[in-house]
Symmetry: C2
Subunit: 98 residues, 2 copies
Amino acid sequence: METAAAVGSLQEVLAALSDPVRLEMVRRLASADEPVACSRLYEGVSKSTASHHFKILREAGVTERTVVGGQTCQRLRVADVEGTYPGVLSSIVAAAGD
Amino acid sequence: METAAAVGSLQEVLAALSDPVRLEMVRRLASADEPVACSRLYEGVSKSTASHHFKILREAGVTERTVVGGQTCQRLRVADVEGTYPGVLSSIVAAAGD
DNA sequence: TGCTAGGTTCGATATGCATCAAACAGGTGG
DNA sequence: CCACCTGTTTGATGCATATCGAACCTAGCA
C-alpha cells in the first residue's frame, strides 16, 4: 500500500468530497488520471482557499502532493481509497462527472 | 419513480452522509431494509437534534417519512438514490457497515 | 374530555469551516 | 544576486450547522 499516510475515516472522506470546490478538484484529477498542477484544479476561489482545500483532501487521504518538474502537483490516490472503501470514490466521481 | 420529491444534488447527499449521526441513521435503515421508528435510529443526541438530522436527510432525498401504525418512521429511498447516483449510497453503506 | 408518548419546531449558543488578504518560502530564470 | 511565479501559512471574518431545552402538535387511549 504505497507508503505514507493511510486513508482517513469514511467520515473524513465524505466530508472532504461534500464541498463543491473540493469535489471539482477531485473530478478534474480523476479525469486527468495523472498528477495535475494545483493551479489547474480550481476556479473562483483565491489560491489560499484552494491551498486550504488541498490540505483537507490530503489529510483525508484522498490526494497526495507530488512535485513534477518544479511544479507542485496533486495526485488522486484512487487505488488506496478504492482499496479502503470500495466503490465510494469511483461512484461519486462518476455521479459528479455528468 | 415513487412520486414526491426528487433526490437532492450530489453535494446535498454527500453532506447529509458526512455527519456521523446521520450516517449511523442511514446505516441502521439500510440494515433493517424497511421503515424504522425514529427512536430506533439514534443514540447520544437529544430528540430535537435527531429530528433536525431527519430533516436534513429528508431534504437531501435520502429518506422519507412514513407513518406505520401511528408510529412515525423513516424509510431509506434506496431505489431513488441509486437511480440518481448509481453505487454511491450502496458503497457508502457497505463501507460504513464494517 | 383530558392524558400521555413520540416528533417537530423554536430560539439560543457555540463550534466549525470556507473565505480572503497579506506575509512567507522555495524554486526558476534573468 | 535579484526579481518572479506558485504554493503554503497565518490571522481575521462571517456564515453554516450541530446541539440543547422548552414549547408545541398530534395521535391514540382511557
